[in-house]
Subunit: 215 residues, 2 copies
């Protein structure tokens, strides 16, 4: 590699990086639109390429297959979710209120994800697909951080009893994940409208959690 | 059908039913032994038939395949589990103690089930296998009944605050199922020794549940 100072070359690299970035978001936005209108299953890579006037080869250069495009779309949603929660957490209000708000933002987020994917039946396969393992791990880590933040505030403000933030954040997030997946264990093909049952259970879970955290 | 009173015929039917019953339990016990020693996967129908000196055809008459034999073995375990819990519930002690005891009996029961099946890795497939859907539904119903019994006692004795027994029993059981499956959602291939983590979480869940139920 040359160590020669080359301003023009550097600018060229920055320009390339920028156009890569904007190309990526153009693709992701096009994919998102297709997925939302027709569902993931009914969308082809050809259609996405056609929508943005890109060659199929160019599209495959960025995303070797549709699965990776799904991951990119959901990853972007995760970032948004995390940002929305962060804004909410930083507003002045009681920690108990924030924890409830967290759950309702989370529920809305999952409903949107399911709509995006046009998943009529929430199959077990969708939950455990190895393709999503990175996303799942990522989401779990983020959720624990966000909930830990809320719990730490509540304990600091003496709204909650002193308790292990780490342990309780993990129990809370696992509880939320668990109630949804318990519905699947009991009935492996849970139609989306049954999610209302899970939502009611989740509210009861949050109430109990808050009661137990009272000083 | 003849309505003629035929005592001898009736006795013959009862005798047949009894020998069917003892044949069934001989088969189930033989299967249980094989499963426990060699695991379900490594056991063949031939071996079970050979162990009890039964023809393969006769064995297949009672159990069309190995899966149904697995279901029969586990079903018997469920009955035992239910009986053990019932005895515990009927002893005089505090409801909070009974709820904790319930969880420890339950954990021991699941560990035994996993040992029986020689499942080294608790795969997602095992949890959701449609072959087990009847067992799952059955277990869920029984668990809800048993926990509801404990909660009702606690409320009657004013040890617990007044609350919907049905709702709370369901949340409790779904929570137990959920914490275990959450571990799988986060990491689809959870080695059995990781179950210790789930056990610790379960204890925290029970503690929170009991705290929230305080009058």
């Amino acid at each position: 590699m040359s160590h020669r100072f080359d301003l023009r070359g550097r600018f060229a690299i920055i320009r390339m990086a920028m156009s890569e970035d904007s190309r990526l978001s153009t693709i992701i936005e096009a994919a998102r639109k297709r997925f939302a209108h027709f569902g993931v299953a009914k969308t082809t890579m050809n259609e996405i390429a056609h929508d943005i006037g890109m060659s199929k080869a160019a599209l495959y250069y960025y995303f070797p297959d549709k699965d990776q495009l799904v991951v990119a779309v959901v990853d972007q949603d995760l970032e948004k979710f995390s940002a929305v929660v962060d804004t909410m957490i930083n507003r002045p209000s009681r920690a108990a209120h924030k924890l409830k708000k967290y759950v309702s933002i989370r529920n809305a987020f999952f409903k949107e994800l399911l709509t995006l994917a046009k998943i009529e039946q929430l199959g077990v396969a969708d939950l455990f697909d190895p393709m999503f393992s990175h996303l799942r791990a990522n989401l779990f880590k983020k959720e624990k951080e966000l909930v830990a933040k809320i719990l730490a505030t509540g304990i600091r403000e003496k709204e909650f009893t002193r308790a292990s933030v780490e342990e309780h954040a993990e129990l809370f997030v696992c509880g939320l994940i668990g109630l949804r997946s318990a519905a699947l264990v009991i009935n492996p093909v849970t139609p989306i409208h049954n999610i209302e049952v899970v939502d009611a259970q989740t509210r009861l879970f949050v109430d109990m959690f808050l009661k137990a955290l009272r000083p």
